[in-house]
Amino acid sequence: MSDLTGIMAVTMIIWIGLFAYVYRLDRKVSRLED
Amino acid sequence: MSRWLAEALAVAAKDLRAEFRTRVALNSLALFALTTLAAVSYTIGPYRLAAEDRPFLLSVLLWIVIFFAALAGLDRSFVKEEESHTAPLLRLAAAPTVVWAGKLLYNLVLIFVLMAMLAPLFCVLMGFEIAMPWRFVVVLAVGGYGLAVITTIVAAIIAQAMTRGALFSVLSLPLLLPLLIIVIEGTRAVAMGDLASFSESLRAMITMAGAMTIVSAFLFPIVWRD
């Protein structure tokens, strides 16, 4: 069972990292547009 | 309508005449095909493959040789025009679809000539026994047509891109892979006398060739017009 939680944790971290990256990119682009 | 056809034939005839004079593309096609065939025949020959694997493996080998020979020989049909600066003249002299049809016909003739030479030789050298020989010709014809249609439009694209060799193969081969899978299965089916599978493959081949024909006919004028 802890294997599963481990994989879920990894997936969560990947998602959080991806979201943070795209979010920052989005903000940077917004600033460049204005 | 017949005027359009006559013009297309004229474009093809011009290219074929020029080609038979210098034989650059034909040489590339023939040399590549024969060399590959020799290599395959030498290493594998008629005896090495187990009987139950032969129909499938020999189909694969045949079409790989045909496809790669085509990639070696068919890239120049438009590049020639750009290089010798006859392209602008051609644009003036004929409607875009006429040029497309003419070039397609030209590529078709080259492929059929290649197949006429290669297929019998392959069957003899590799001991490829075909249960339904006439349907085999049909598979070759339709497959060859599909090959010609796709390579023609890709050749038109890369002639505008003005780079050498490799881009043609890079663009053509992935587009050709679905067709390749279908014609290999069709060939395996005719080798084994599997009528049901042949019919299904034939339908798939014709559908793909048809779709590509219609889409190319629409897209070619756009590529050519620049």
Binding site: W15, F19 | I157, P174, I222
Partner: protein, 223 residues
């Protein structure tokens, strides 16, 4: 970034967090699947679906470019093709992981794996073409033509080739996605994941096209 956009993005974030949690914790293990491999389906199917959608958008944007000749359609076509490629890679990877758990091998060229590989090659070639043409309008035109040609093969790859392929490889294990007996809980999470991935790609598409617009604007200013 405006209010609505801000809210939507954070909503997406929470949505996917819930989907991930649900996929691993809320859903029980599925029968007929080895180990916990059924959970991968929640990520594999949406990425494959969104990839196809992205390629379709690229084809449509290409058609729009050829019709209207506005650069924004070229941006859309290129960004979409790139997203499609990205999602296709993800679909391939998740599919390989699934194959490993279910059948012991990451890769055995089953019809789906073959089709997705061909798709990857086709759209990788799209970017090879783009990088080979210097003039922006010519690049846009030629890659638009190719994008349309490329999408013609997609229905064949998705439907016809797998059937034909089975005749070629009858010994291939029945690798059809065993998702035909989905109960409602699985279906809900799958659809939710699909919605989330679609939302994510809409966002990525918008960011990508905005970046291209800025690049384009910069180039115009230099001239």
């Amino acid at each position: 970034m405006n209010r609505v956009g801000f809210a939507l993005k954070w909503f997406l974030f929470v949505w996917m967090v819930v989907v991930i949690w649900a996929a691993f914790m809320w859903i029980p293990s599925a029968e007929g699947f080895k180990g916990e491999s059924s959970r991968i389906v929640f990520f594999h199917v949406p990425t494959a679906w969104v990839a196809t959608l992205a390629f379709l958008v690229s084809c449509i944007a290409s058609g729009m470019y050829l019709w209207r000749r506005e650069p924004k359609y070229d941006f859309g076509a290129a960004v979409s093709a790139g997203l499609g490629l990205l999602y296709a890679v993800l679909a391939t990877v998740t599919g390989a992981i699934f194959a490993k758990i279910m059948w012991g091998a990451y890769w055995n060229w089953d019809p789906r794996q073959t089709s997705i590989t061909i798709l990857l090659l086709i759209y990788a070639a799209y970017f090879a073409l783009r990088s080979a043409v210097a003039d922006p309008e010519k690049r846009a035109t030629l890659s638009a033509v190719y994008s349309i040609l490329a999408f013609v093969t997609v229905p064949f790859l998705m439907f016809i080739v797998p059937r034909i392929y089975f005749s070629l490889h009858p010994d291939v294990m029945t690798n059809a996605d065993p998702d035909n007996s989905l109960d409602s809980a699985h279906l809900i999470v799958l659809l939710a994941s699909l919605a989330g991935f679609t939302g994510l790609s809409v966002w990525l598409y918008s960011v990508g096209t905005r970046i291209e617009k800025i690049r384009h604007r910069r180039r115009q200013e230099v001239l």
